[in-house]
């Protein structure tokens, strides 16, 4: 089949390394993968190019494309399942994919993991972002976890999201996971009360948990989880924490728990600060004192502005400020952001 006339050929593999590399940097990721599939030599050339700064994500949620590319944490390119299917003849040794499974989900998982392995190997990097469906089947989550265990030791960002949540799969995930996770996000949208699940000891740079339905607040992270955690940033949406829960957390921090914590914020009912600070030494600052806390995190910046607030101090001298901020939601019952920040340099 003569697709392109002979005169159109431009033998780029005969070019010196600098222009060849320059040409390949004009390709998008899918074009690079296609180029790598043209021959083993092409694959070798791509592997020898140093591409930095971009990250690979794996989307196993129904509304996400499966292979994702991020530039400085911003999604800029993705492979759809159709992109992968069109190229299926180049993978699996050109074998028959339909022999692998009759189950569509299982097939999708096979496609995605085979391609993820290929893409990660080609660009010589691990998966940075893993997006999991909070209502995945036990069989799938088990397969994903085992596959991840064998492919890498660390994961920068893991997210559970979905319109429904199966607590069993989250239990299973944390039970089986052998790789460390730096940032964990729950973005759950279930419309019924879910069973609390066990996510183990939270040793993270960032923990984010939210339920988009105020009727079913975050109930799967407890005061005990926070007290025993070693997280730098904790952001929890509407949840059941009350003065007593938070009082225990604050006392634990003063005694030296959560040594890396810089931000702890959650959306709760209006708090009675007399109860909240019961038994805690504090200094109430005048509202005229305005202080700004900034923290760079992944692609962005987290910023809180305090007008006054209550200062508390850890036994080792670290200073934190707590305050309850403006309403999160207006309705029959107002919800407020409780914010605690630990100031750098004890100032």
């Amino acid at each position: 089949m003569n697709i392109v006339p002979e005169k159109k050929t431009i033998p780029i593999l005969k070019l010196p390394a600098v222009p060849l590399s320059n040409i390949l940097r004009n390709f998008n990721q899918l074009e690079i993968v296609d180029f790598s599939l043209a021959s083993k030599k092409c694959q070798f050339i791509i592997k020898s190019i140093k591409f930095d700064k971009f990250h690979i994500g794996l989307g196993l949620q129904p509304k996400r494309d499966p292979i994702l590319f991020y530039w400085d944490y911003y999604l800029y390119f993705e492979f759809s399942i159709d992109d992968l299917k069109k190229r299926s003849k180049y993978m699996n040794g050109g074998g028959n994919w339909t022999q692998l499974s009759n189950d569509e989900n299982e097939m999708r998982f096979k496609y995605v993991t085979v391609w993820a392995d290929y893409v990660c190997d080609l660009f010589r990097r691990d998966i940075t972002f893993l997006y999991l469906n909070s209502n995945e089947s036990l069989q799938e989550i088990s397969a994903i976890t085992e596959w991840m265990n064998t492919r890498q030791t660390c994961l920068e960002y893991c997210e559970f999201s979905g319109d429904d949540t199966n607590s069993d799969i989250i239990d299973l995930f944390f039970e089986k996971t052998k790789f460390s996770i730096q940032n964990l996000c729950y973005d759950l949208r279930h419309t019924h009360e879910i069973r609390q699940f066990n996510c183990g000891i939270l040793d993270l740079n960032g923990l984010f948990a939210s339920s988009s339905t105020v009727n079913y607040p975050v109930n799967w992270i407890t005061e005990e989880d926070i007290i025993t955690s070693n997280c730098v940033r904790i952001v929890i949406g509407v949840c059941y924490f009350n003065e007593n829960n938070l009082n225990r957390v604050l006392k634990g921090w003063i005694d030296g728990n959560n040594p890396r914590m810089t931000i702890f914020t959650l959306a709760v009912k209006r708090l009675d600060f007399e109860m909240l600070l019961d038994g805690i030494e504090f200094e109430e600052k005048d509202e005229s004192l305005k202080r700004t806390f900034e923290s760079e995190y992944m692609a962005g910046k987290i910023m809180y502005e305090f007008e006054g607030g209550f200062d508390i101090r850890q036994k080792n001298g670290k200073l934190a400020t707590i305050q309850q901020k403006k309403p999160y939601k207006n309705g029959e019952e107002q919800i407020f952001w409780f914010v605690m920040v630990v100031w750098p340099n004890n100032a």
Binding site: I3, T9, I10, L13, K14, P19, F35, A38, F51
Partner: protein
């Protein structure tokens, strides 16, 4: 250094404020004049000019021979450099996202057949002209749009694995320098 031109000199328009011109001789003895601002786009030529100590006074009396670039490519290169000599310095491209748009004038200039484009890239690489290199590579990179691996193999003259293996075998079977 004195080389008599065998073909008419390609004249280049130069602004009054900067009358310094240099002469370049291509591998096939075509002579080109190029302004100082334009020649600076070529790192290789500018390094040569600096190292030879060429000045406004002696530049035209000392043509610079460029043996790796023929007249046809040199003409394109001179046109390009004169066109872009007053361009503002562009921020360095980050490693992956290349958002520059190839201007229409340059697209027209680079609408040449693939053999010429290939030779132009080699010349551009030798003369180290970053912007022209980026533009040529964009034109070649654009050829990959919506192409299958088989089509890319044809467009870019990529041998199949079997052809690569056969080439490797014949290379290892052939007698070495002492054989």
């Amino acid at each position: 250094m004195s080389v008599e031109p065998e073909v008419p000199i390609v004249q280049v328009e130069e602004v009054r404020e900067n009358p310094v011109l240099y002469k370049i001789i291509s591998s096939d003895n075509h002579v080109f004049t190029i302004s100082e601002h334009a020649v600076k786009l070529s790192k290789t030529l500018w390094d040569l000019i600096t190292n030879l100590g060429l000045t406004a006074e002696n530049a035209l009396d000392n043509p610079i021979p460029v043996e790796n670039v023929n007249g046809k490519n040199m003409e394109t290169i001179v046109q390009f450099c004169e066109r872009h000599k007053y361009d503002e310095e562009e921020p360095e491209y980050t490693n992956y996202i290349r958002e520059f748009v190839l201007p229409e004038w340059d697209r027209q200039l680079l609408s040449i057949d693939n053999e010429e484009l290939f030779q132009l890239i080699l010349a551009t690489n030798y003369l180290d002209i970053q912007k022209l290199m980026d533009y040529c590579c964009r034109v070649i990179g654009d050829m990959a749009k919506d192409k299958t691996p088989e089509e890319l193999r044809i467009i870019y003259g990529i041998p199949t694995d079997a052809e690569d293996d056969a080439l490797e075998r014949s290379a290892s079977d052939s007698p070495g320098p002492s054989g």
